[in-house]
Amino acid sequence: MDTERSVVPAARDALVAACPVVRKGVPASDAVAGLVPSFVAFPASTDEASALLRVAAAHDLSVVPRGAGTGLGWGLPPVSCDLVIDLQAMDQVIEHAAGDLVARVQAGATMGNLASVLSLAGQQLAVDAPADATVGGVVATGTAGPRRFRYGAPRDLLIGITVVRADGVVAHSGGKVVKNVAGYDLGKLFAGSQGTLGLITEVTFRLHPLPAAAAWVTGDFDPNVPSALAGAASAVASAAGSALVPSAVELLWTGSPAVLRVGVLLEGTPSGVAERAKQMAELLAGAGATVVATSETPFRWWQPEPGAPGTVVRVTFWVRQLAEVLGALATAGVSTGIRPAVSGAAGAGVLYAWLDPGVADEIAARFVRALRDRLSGVFAGSADGTGLSRGGMAVLAAPTALLAAAGAGQPVPGLDLMRAVKDQFDPGHRMCPGRFPWGR
């Protein structure tokens, strides 16, 4: 750890000159995984953010960008955090070009505020994320919920980005038109980079119309019947592959109460949704669901809750292997005596296993190791001799002690190239140093 590091006193004056609102970090509100930053700065513009990063570069300060802080606990804890750059003063929706279905937004705007502005024109940013999260944070963490099945992740809706590099240089890529192939797409690189490449200050999104109607069709399977896992998995595949064009194909599997449920979201015109919901209900019943229900009210169970305590493991897979993935989760649970809550966009090949915060770190670590062992068998079984692993597993959030105990992760494809990209963008390794938990 970097505890002996002393911040050059001159840095304080330079930071204040760069950005009028700078204060000392305080443990209660500013600590990042236990590290209290020396400074917290609140830039009001990209220019101020640029000036701050130039000072940080000159004084060799490590930097952690922060939006609403909802996702700060995800990923490995940084090894050093001298300066937190808080984007919440940059909270404006700069432009909503409703006729073009495009919005330009400062990174510190919250998803909730953006949604209310867009809804005035009957439009939306089709990303499921907490309302109090900032758009910059959502992009930086790559947060996506059930509707990733239809609309993708933030990277798929991002059409332009402004970033400040570790050396303070401001750069743009993309633009404000949906169709654009001029130059490299830095937005793709920064989306999901968790603040490790630079600071996102402004983003431009492609929007979608708010649907006139939506229906949620659920099919429940009896979790006590041994074949139910395979039945639910095949229902997920059928729903996802149907021409009924679902917006989400979710799976929920919990121990208490014992629930095994496939949930499908349909969006469209009122008459179209009514008819499709009927057909989807038939599809789920035909796949073996014992109770099938349709509701206009959104279910809340899928909501990702970044920052929630406990351990979150993400498993990604090809849908063909969903039953085997569920089997691996079950086996890992049985062998360690714990029962994670499992949910996620199963139709898009993503599931999250949530371990209760009450589970002791060493038990949780044992579960993580057991799951990884089982899954590497599953994914290796699908290998075709080209080195393509058809799936992966990542510990998104966990107590530090668990991370240390859980052991080495799976190899991430393209790791050498990722290292090279990091070295180019942040040669001093000052941006969120230590954040990425490769392969966990």
């Binding site: 490995l76 090894v79 050093s80 070009a97 006729g99 790559g142 990277r155 798929d156 970033v163 590099r165 240089v169 401001v170 750069a171 743009h172 890529s173 633009g175 038109v177 169709k179 192939v181 001029a182 130059g183 797409d185 830095l186 793709k188 690189l189 989306a191 999901g192 490790t196 708010l210 006139a212 592959g241 021409a243 009924l244 064009v245 015109t269 179209g272 009514a274 008819e275 499709r276 090809w318 849908v319 063909r320 080209t386 393509l388 692993s389 058809r390 992966g392 080495a408 991430v412 494809p413 393209g414 990209v421 180019q424 942040d426 390794h429 969120c432 140093p433 230590g434 990425f436 938990p437």
Partner: protein, 487 residues
């Protein structure tokens, strides 16, 4: 032949087999350009590897010799992205064209880069699936080329571009290493190199295998052909459709001159005397499309339609689409030479930019036929000229450039789907400042520090990739313990 390349010939024959190494100057000339014929350059050597590991060996040999290399798919690109280097090796991917696997349950296909775009949909069709990106050249263009250019097509308005449909790439890095980017799931661990690579125009490496998403074939597809007196009437209909919250599979428009050309070429029988035709295709579940169809129809009428035709069966639809898809080639019937332009404006600025194009045309006496993806503001003005008339080529080039300026003034882009290549690198500084271009090239430096992989494309001025200073922080405890990689 350049000495450095000459020395590589025996090694290339060893790697690819003697029959797959082209040294004959006449034969090499067949590779001198891609779909953009105004730029030509004969490669010093062309090789046709048959496997991913052969590609890796070819690239490694080039890298070791410091010889530049360029990958080529079907050669249909329209920005000179596959323009060879006279001092380099052209790596032709046409032998690697198999559909390796279709996984209908996961809705994935694994294909080789030389496979044609349409062959993926054909292979997926028996499973009720298709591959969504559909550039007009889909019969011949290769998926590897689509990845390089992040190709779109008429239906990307609804279904997205190549980057939205590629979930893993096996690539050969510019140093000759085989590696995967992504795992086919569509969810990344670490940086989204898959996203950054797609659309990098062959400058970050060579694709050797591609995992793509397949989508269920739509239950129904309805196509409307609507005639208007002017493009601005048609534009109004487009705005009204989007304003009603409807996202059609495609909305295409052609102006009078483009209609005339298409009629000459393929006799598509579009309404005679129309100032503009609009094609609106709705696809999806029957229950949705029926509801949307009646709304679209009445919006089109309200905007002043002079005629509306519908086509519901595949043959009828193909007949109507033939006019649109043949448009580029068709203008060859009405003009000895032409430039295919590719610019983008915010959709609501279409009217303004079309007016500007009309006055540019009137001022210069250079005719411009307009074909465009109206739904996403992507214009393909076809600038017509006669190369036998002195000065016309230059005048056409000037009009073509001024159209891009007009797009940029409206907050648009210099290319929506054809790429920058060699053709538009000089326009890049009009769209991006030097810091933007410098930052983009950091990615280039990470992948290709020696700048051997398709050099001279996209960026007007190459960036020197200096040595990167090493880490100077204490390692993370988990890294020190060999448990985690950190950045």
């Amino acid at each position: 032949m350049a000495a450095g390349v000459e020395a590589l010939v025996p090694r290339m024959r060893e790697i690819c087999g003697p029959g797959h190494v082209v040294t004959d100057p006449l034969e090499l000339r067949t590779y001198e350009c891609d779909g953009l014929t105004s730029h030509r350059s004969v490669p010093a050597l062309a090789v046709l590897p048959g496997t991913a590991s052969e590609v890796a060996s070819v690239v490694a040999a080039c890298a070791a010799a410091g010889v530049p290399f360029v990958a080529r798919g079907s050669g249909t690109g329209l920005s000179g992205g596959a323009l060879p280097r006279e001092d380099g090796v052209l790596i032709v991917m046409s032998r690697m064209r198999s559909i390796v696997e279709i996984d209908p349950v996961s809705r994935r296909a694994i294909v080789e880069p030389g496979a044609t775009n349409l062959s993926v949909s054909k292979a997926a069709a028996p499973f009720g699936l298709f591959y969504a990106p559909d550039p007009s050249s889909q019969v011949v263009c290769s998926v590897g080329g689509n990845v390089a250019e992040n190709s779109g097509g008429a239906h990307c308005l609804k279904h997205g571009f190549t980057v939205h449909h590629v979930t893993a790439l096996q690539i050969v890095t510019p140093s000759g290493q085989l590696t995967w980017l992504g795992d086919g799931t569509g969810v990344c661990s670490g940086y989204d190199l898959l996203g950054a690579f797609t659309g990098s125009e062959g400058t970050l490496g060579i694709v050797t295998k591609i995992v793509v998403k397949l989508m269920p074939l739509p239950e129904v597809v309805h196509l409307l052909l609507v005639a208007y007196d002017t493009t601005s009437h048609g534009g109004q209909a487009v705005s009204d459709i989007i304003g009603a919250g409807i996202l059609p599979g495609a909305i295409e428009m052609m102006d009078a001159l483009a209609i005339e050309a298409a009629e000459e070429a393929v006799h598509c029988n579009y309404p005679a005397g129309a100032g503009a035709v609009l094609l609106v295709e709705l696809d999806g579940p029957a229950a949705e499309v029926e509801a949307e169809m009646s709304t679209v129809r009445s919006l089109c009428e309200a905007a002043g339609a002079t005629e509306i035709r519908t086509a519901d069966d595949p043959a009828e639809r193909a007949g109507i689409w033939a006019g649109r898809k043949s448009a580029f080639a068709a203008v060859g019937r009405i003009s000895p030479a032409y430039i295919v332009q590719d610019g983008v404006v915010p959709r609501t600025s279409l009217g303004a930019v079309l007016a500007q194009i009309a006055s540019l045309s009137a001022e210069s006496g250079i005719r411009v036929a307009n074909v465009f993806h109206a739904g996403d503001g992507n214009l393909h003005p076809l600038v017509l000229y006669d190369d036998a008339v002195p000065g016309q080529a230059e005048a056409a080039e000037k009009v073509s450039g001024a159209i891009l300026d007009a797009c940029l003034e409206q907050g648009g882009s210099i290319t929506g789907e054809h790429g920058v290549g060699v053709d538009k690198s000089r326009y890049m500084p009009k769209m991006f400042n030097s810091a933007d271009l410098d930052t983009m090239q950091l990615v280039r430096c990470a992948f290709d520090p020696a700048s051997l992989c398709n050099p001279g494309k996209i960026f007007p001025t190459p960036r020197l990739c200096g040595e990167v200073p090493g880490h100077h922080r204490a390692p993370h405890p988990a890294v020190a313990a060999g448990q985690a990689e950190i950045f």
